[in-house]
């Protein structure tokens, strides 16, 4: 190990106690032989580690929590007036309401329901409408939509009894 490699280790892994056993062994061997690197190691610990480790810690002022509480109240009120949902958001509350074990089933059910609705509303219009109408109404609708084969079949089976019916049909 040369002085550059030793210097790099001293300023990082060695003083931060992140050094591997192999590097530590090599560094110690180098330090025994190199006085300038030994001096650097001593100074690094004294100047760059100890003062930072002993730096005082500040305590947050008590009014800080009161300010945050006020801000939280304001946000909750805003959410209430904008969406009608209080608290941290609709989905967060929903997530909390549904037990964790049931969530995958709830999600799967929701997905299946959406898929079924989607496929139903994407059928061909006559089929979709026919499914919702009575047989007489769908027959009338098919005539209106000019389904010629059906119209002819229907007309063939109709008795035109009165003169006015005969005139029009």
């Amino acid at each position: 190990m040369n002085c550059d490699q030793a210097r790099e280790l001293i300023l990082t892994d060695a003083i931060d106690a992140e050094i591997s056993m192999d590097d530590k062994r090599e560094l110690l061997t180098h330090l025994v032989a190199c006085e300038s690197c030994r001096l650097l190691m001593d100074r690094a610990e004294a100047d760059l580690m100890t003062p930072f480790e002993q730096a005082g810690r500040l305590v947050p002022p008590p009014e800080l929590w009161r300010n945050i509480e006020r801000e939280l109240d304001r946000t909750a009120l805003q959410t209430d007036s904008e969406t009608g949902v209080a608290g941290p958001g609709f989905f967060a509350r929903l997530r909390h309401l549904i037990p964790q074990a049931v969530r995958p089933f709830a999600l799967a059910t929701a997905v299946l329901l959406i898929a079924a609705l989607f496929s139903f509303y994407h059928q061909e219009p006559p089929m979709r409408t026919a499914a919702r109408l009575s047989p007489a109404a769908s027959a009338l609708m098919l005539i209106c939509e000019r389904d010629s084969a059906f119209e002819e079949a229907l007309v063939r089976n109709i008795q035109f009894d009165t003169p006015i019916e005969k005139l029009f049909f």
């Binding site: 300023l11 760059l48 730096a55 810690r57 500040l58 800080l64 608290g87």
Partner: protein, 182 residues
Amino acid sequence: MPEISDLIIERACSGDRKAFEEIYRAHSGMVYNVAFRMTGHLETAGEITQDVFMAVFRKLAQFRGQSKLKTWIYRITVNTALNLRRREAVEKERLRAYAVEKKVLEPQVTPQPGDEPFDRVQELMMFLPPEQRVCMLLRSIEQLGYQEIADILEININTVRTRLKRARESLFAKLRGGTHEL
């Protein structure tokens, strides 16, 4: 720093103010100190702490638990402090440009003893560029490991090592060349 259980996080998610206060009590000291060491101002540190906990409240439902809550809050704190510094730098530059245009002289503000607890460690911290300062702060003051720092800053562990080395070289140069004798 007491560990916050998943139950408290779930309760805080559903809007339980007491549970959220527990999270605040456990982490506010760390947030406030990091914010102060990053900015050097007590008032700004208070503003950042408030912003951080409002962000934690808003985003807690998105916290998936892949990282520790502490790491997640550290990340929000560091990002909030760095963004604030960027905004301040832009604002300062705009004011300077305005002053030059209007030929207005900027008042020279010098930190006075008693204005802020401007201790020697803080003076050294403020000497470093923000990306080196945050690494020094998390390693030497908050005593976090390299991997944890890398996770918080979302950078490679070797980048953490490089930034620490450069920061310490700069501090050595300052201590040898300047008037500071720690």
